[in-house]
């Protein structure tokens, strides 16, 4: 997730552009850049770090009479946060500059083709193919607009794009497919941005582009068209939100915003990584020879990522038949772990800075093991230390309670497991079925989010309880741990995750009318066993909130409340099941008046032991 901003009109100076992307910094903040078009040439500035840290005296760019400019704040997906990888990116001539939000899935193929045609690339980004592609089209097209649209049609993936061309310095060329684009209509200026936040300083009149649409902006107006070039009529809307509201996408808290982003973040985690033609996944950051040689896995993580790791164990053992252990980052160094030859150590951390996990990675490397990281933040310490890894592409996660990063980690672990499985005898059919189910998850997550009001009602009824149990088996056991963690970290309610079969070895003694149990019972394989647990709880007058497969009336008949999940394969159940648990925790915390985004005693990234 990145932020893009563009301005065309009189006095397109870099300070306006920088103010614009400052409003978008919550969308990404590892590097930034601006470009202005004046006097038949482009002037470019790119920097690493937050925009707020920039010395304004340094930002002197272009001259007087600049007529348009674009700016970008980056959340790295392809290539580390460096000046070379920061946007805007330019073509070989330096006359075309492009900023981009999204992921270009076919960038490798396009890059190879363009390189064969003589184009020289400077960065590691997927974005850089775009200006070169436009440059190539410009050799045969009549005008820049046609070249721009021609290039857009070859892109596969998600994009919101804005481009400048030195030959038309008063224009900004914009296109959207899968990533948001908003146009702002000012009195003597026209603007473009990833969302309305940077536009409100200039206008409250906006136009939302739809997928497959493009626009050409001038200081005194704009035209919108399809990517095929047909004119499109768009309606103008008024921005009705305050600035903080806009930054949170209209949501009252970042946590709810991030919960609601999961259909997109789940999609982004597998976008461009599914190779249907082979019934497997493609994981660019990890070399194939390494994966072929793996005989054991050892997952190192903390907190929510540790829960993802526990599910990863079931995935790797079930799909790929690779024996897998999961260890807390804090214990890895001190537990004297036994690493068999050909053990792959997998470090999972949203921020990539979790100090205990980082220490585990270093210890594993000292022991001679191969390490890979599963991180959200590109270029983070764990990503760098591992040298190899898979980014989850969830976009910035600002709420302290991790939500979308968890589901994205599970998607990536699923891809890793299916890829390793296909290398080890998993049938093509099993691979295809798994990937098909994975590709249904974004839509299914969307369906789950429509239950928000109902889950809010349930949360309201249970917000006064002081103790909760969350129980599940197999894939739903770590999901239960995660549901309990969410509840305790933001609502300060005591909640315990328990493996359901272990209830009778102790925790069932806690069951009483004032201790409700959240029962996860959506997996087909162990559904009947979970019904046994539910009957045991009911016999002791315990209240039950069940999470079950849609249409499972038998489970619903045993529970006070039931939240239904769309049907999926058992290994993918956690990705859906955790979403109502996140919502439940959120609404309980809100009902109790807790500070959801900044819970007491907690920090987003744990960088101390």
């Amino acid at each position: 997730m990145c932020g893009i901003f563009g301005y065309t009109g009189s006095d397109a100076n870099p300070h306006i552009l920088i103010e614009g992307i400052k409003r978008l910094e919550y969308r990404g903040y590892d590097s930034w850049g601006v470009c202005v078009a004046c006097d038949d040439q482009l002037s470019l500035l790119r920097r690493v770090g937050r925009i707020g840290a920039a010395d304004s005296a340094e930002i002197e760019l272009g001259g007087r009479g600049c007529r348009s400019g674009i700016a970008h704040t980056r959340w790295a997906t392809h290539g580390a946060p460096t000046e070379i990888n920061a946007h805007p990116h330019t073509d070989c001539t330096g006359r075309i500059a492009v900023i981009h939000n999204g992921i270009i899935e076919n960038h490798s193929a396009l890059r190879s083709t363009l390189q064969a045609q003589g184009h020289r690339f400077a960065s590691e980004t997927d974005t850089e193919v775009i200006p070169h592609l436009i440059e190539e089209f410009l050799k045969s097209e009549q005008d820049f607009s046609a070249a721009f649209l021609g290039a857009m049609k070859l892109l596969v993936g998600a994009y919101g794009i804005a481009a400048l061309y030195a030959g038309e310095p008063g224009a900004i060329f914009v296109a959207r497919h899968g990533s948001p684009i908003v146009l702002g209509l000012g009195k003597d200026r026209t603007l473009v941005a990833s969302d309305p936040a940077p536009l409100v300083a200039h206008t409250r009149e906006v136009i939302y582009l739809d997928d497959g649409e493009a626009a050409i902006l001038h200081g005194d107006g704009f035209e919108t068209k399809t990517l095929e070039g047909a004119p499109v009529s768009k309606s103008v809307q008024q921005i009705a939100f305050s600035l903080p509201d806009i930054e949170r996408g209209g949501f009252p808290h970042f946590m709810l915003k991030e919960i609601s982003e999961q259909p997109e973040s789940i999609h982004n985690a597998y976008r461009g990584r599914i190779v249907r033609a082979e019934g497997t996944a493609k994981l660019g950051g990890v070399d194939e020879a390494l994966l072929r040689s793996v005989k054991h896995c050892h997952i190192v993580a903390c907190g929510t990522s540790w829960h993802a790791g526990l599910i990863g164990k079931y995935l790797l053992e079930g799909l790929a038949r690779i024996p897998t252990q999961v260890t807390f980052g804090s214990e890895f160094r001190y537990a004297h772990p036994v690493l068999e030859p050909d053990t792959l150590v997998v470090a999972i951390s949203q921020s990539g800075e979790t100090v205990d996990t980082l220490a585990g990675v270093r210890e594993a490397k000292l022991m001679g093991a191969e390490t890979i990281g599963i991180c959200n933040v590109v270029g983070s310490s764990i990503a760098r230390e591992c040298g190899k890894g898979i980014y989850i592409h969830a976009g910035p996660e600002i709420g302290v309670a991790s939500t979308k990063a968890f589901t994205s980690q599970l998607v990536v672990l699923s891809l890793l497991a299916v890829h390793l499985g296909r290398m080890r005898g998993m049938s093509l059919r099993a691979g295809l079925l798994f990937l098909d189910a994975l590709e249904r998850l974004p839509q299914q997550a969307e369906e789950l989010l429509t239950q928000k009001d109902r889950i809010s009602d349930i949360a309201g009824r249970y917000a006064a309880f002081q103790d909760f149990l969350f129980i599940g088996r197999l894939f739903e056991y770590p999901t239960a741990l995660e549901g309990a963690l969410k509840l305790k970290e933001i609502s300060y309610i005591h909640a315990e995750g328990v493996q359901a079969a272990e209830m009778k070895h102790g925790p069932i003694a806690l069951i009483e009318p004032d201790v409700p149990t959240v029962v996860l019972a959506a997996q087909a394989e162990i559904r009947d066993k979970m019904m046994g647990n539910m009957n045991e709880i009911r016999a002791r007058s315990g209240k039950i909130i069940a999470v079950a497969q849609e249409g499972d009336t038998e489970i619903a008949g045993l529970a006070e409340e039931t939240i239904f999940l769309p049907r999926t394969l058992d290994p993918l159940v956690p990705i859906l099941a955790v979403i109502p648990l996140q919502m439940f925790a959120y609404f309980v915390a809100v009902a109790r008046g807790c500070d959801v985004d900044k819970p007491r005693n907690l920090a987003k990234s744990v960088t101390v032991e």
Partner: protein
């Protein structure tokens, strides 16, 4: 039937070497049938095919179906085992007309495409599976067909397929039952002293077969047209011999493709022998380990468990063995190689293999082409440029197998 059957090779044929190195996978014989025969009979027409480029020119002479045309098509993987019991299923899938894709293990085994789906040109073994999967056709739950995934499976499937396949041959052919369970086509000559046991299965002798004195048969056995079974030969249970072969000595549960000579004494068991092979007198193979354990194939970086207690050898086309060659259990002999003495390891294609005498050298492609010409002439066949080109192409393809260094070459 207006629905065309297309037999397609895919990109996963590497483990079928050397069986499918010199012939399309649909032309591999197992249990006296090929998939091509079965598909042709099911479809009532020559099936179209998609095969590796280097085979194209040569096989176009023999298999006239050519590349797939327009209209609805049933795609069948060329590696599907030639089981006549699949014939009805082929017909049902073709006539039903519902789009689907079916898998077998790690590969696409079949798919049906309606007429409106246009076929990419060219369609190749490399692009056909990705294309079929990207179409996102409904994925069938059941794995409809078994496929040959490794060369040794040609031997593995011999027994399970034999009874149905040979019964089908008898049913559709015009044979006379010359002795109980012995079915002979025209111009077959059988010595009076030949002995046939058919309690376990029939013996089928195709047109022009000659059975000489004291030959012993224990069915099921199938002998292809114009082949000769020499004096005192013993063919025992699940043997199928191609056309124009000479067979002597003891043969058990084995497949011998056309134009191969194994006319002297010596044992051949649980093996597949390609075309234009000559086995010198006394050549024998082992098909059982002294431990009576499972036979395991050894390759440089991996071992393949076959699940078989009995497995002899796999011998590629044009290979030759000298007198008294002894081939150890479960060995793979490449195309155009020449064997001397003990064969205790796999043998790459185009090798002079005299390991027990300390000599392993490369057999140049030109020499193989010259030998091919001489062999063809003995059978009255004119060597064409395509025949020679095939050998040269296979020589290039198998270059990496041959490590002519201090180390013995190995597959």
């Amino acid at each position: 039937m207006d629905r065309q059957i297309v037999l397609f090779e895919d990109h996963l044929l590497g483990d079928m070497n050397p069986v499918a190195l010199t012939r399309p996978a649909f032309a591999v014989t197992c249990a006296c049938m090929t998939l091509h025969e079965i598909a042709a009979e099911a479809g009532g027409a020559e099936p179209a095919w998609v095969a590796r480029g280097y085979l194209g020119k040569l096989i176009a002479r023999q298999f006239r179906g050519g590349p797939p045309g327009d209209g609805p098509k049933l795609f069948l993987n060329a590696s599907i085992v030639p089981d006549v019991r699949y014939m009805e299923k082929f017909r049902e899938l073709a006539s039903h007309g519902e789009p689907f894709v079916a898998t077998a293990g790690g590969r696409v085994s079949a798919a049906f495409l309606p007429a409106e789906v246009s076929v990419p040109r060219p369609l190749t073994p490399e692009n056909i599976t990705p294309w079929l999967l990207e179409l996102k056709l409904p994925l069938l739950e059941e794995e409809l067909f078994r496929t040959f995934d490794h060369q040794f499976e040609v031997v593995k499937y011999l027994e399970p397929l034999f009874a149905a396949n040979i019964a089908h041959r008898i049913g559709r052919g015009s044979y006379r039952e010359v002795r109980p369970g012995v079915h002979a086509a025209e111009d077959v000559s059988i010595a009076d002293t030949a002995v046939f046991h058919t309690r376990s299965g029939p013996v089928v002798l195709e047109r022009g077969v000659e059975v000489r004195d004291f030959a012993y048969f224990e069915g099921p056995v199938h002998v292809g047209a114009r082949s000769r079974v020499t004096e005192r030969a013993s063919l025992k249970e699940h043997v199928c011999v191609g056309e124009t072969c000479k067979i002597g000595g003891e043969v058990e549960a084995s497949i011998i493709e056309s134009f191969t000579n194994k006319q002297h004494h010596g044992f051949l068991g649980h093996s597949w022998v390609g075309s234009w092979v000559n086995m010198g007198a006394g050549t024998s193979n082992s098909d059982l380990k002294n431990t009576y354990g499972e036979v395991r194939l050894e390759f440089p970086h991996r071992r393949v468990d076959t699940g078989l207690q009995f497995l002899g050898c796999i011998i590629g086309d044009y290979a030759k063995s000298a007198i008294n060659t002894s081939i150890f259990t479960g060995k793979i002999i490449g195309v155009s190689s020449m064997l001397y003495g003990f064969v205790g390891t796999n043998v790459p294609s185009f090798c002079n293999y005299a390991r027990s005498f300390g000599q392993i050298t490369e057999c140049p492609a030109d020499q193989a082409v010259l030998i091919q010409k001489r062999m063809f002439e003995r059978r009255g066949i004119r060597q064409t440029a395509e025949d020679a080109e095939l050998l040269k192409a296979v020589f290039d393809l198998t270059r990496s197998e041959r490590l002519i260094t201090d180390e013995p070459p190995a597959l």
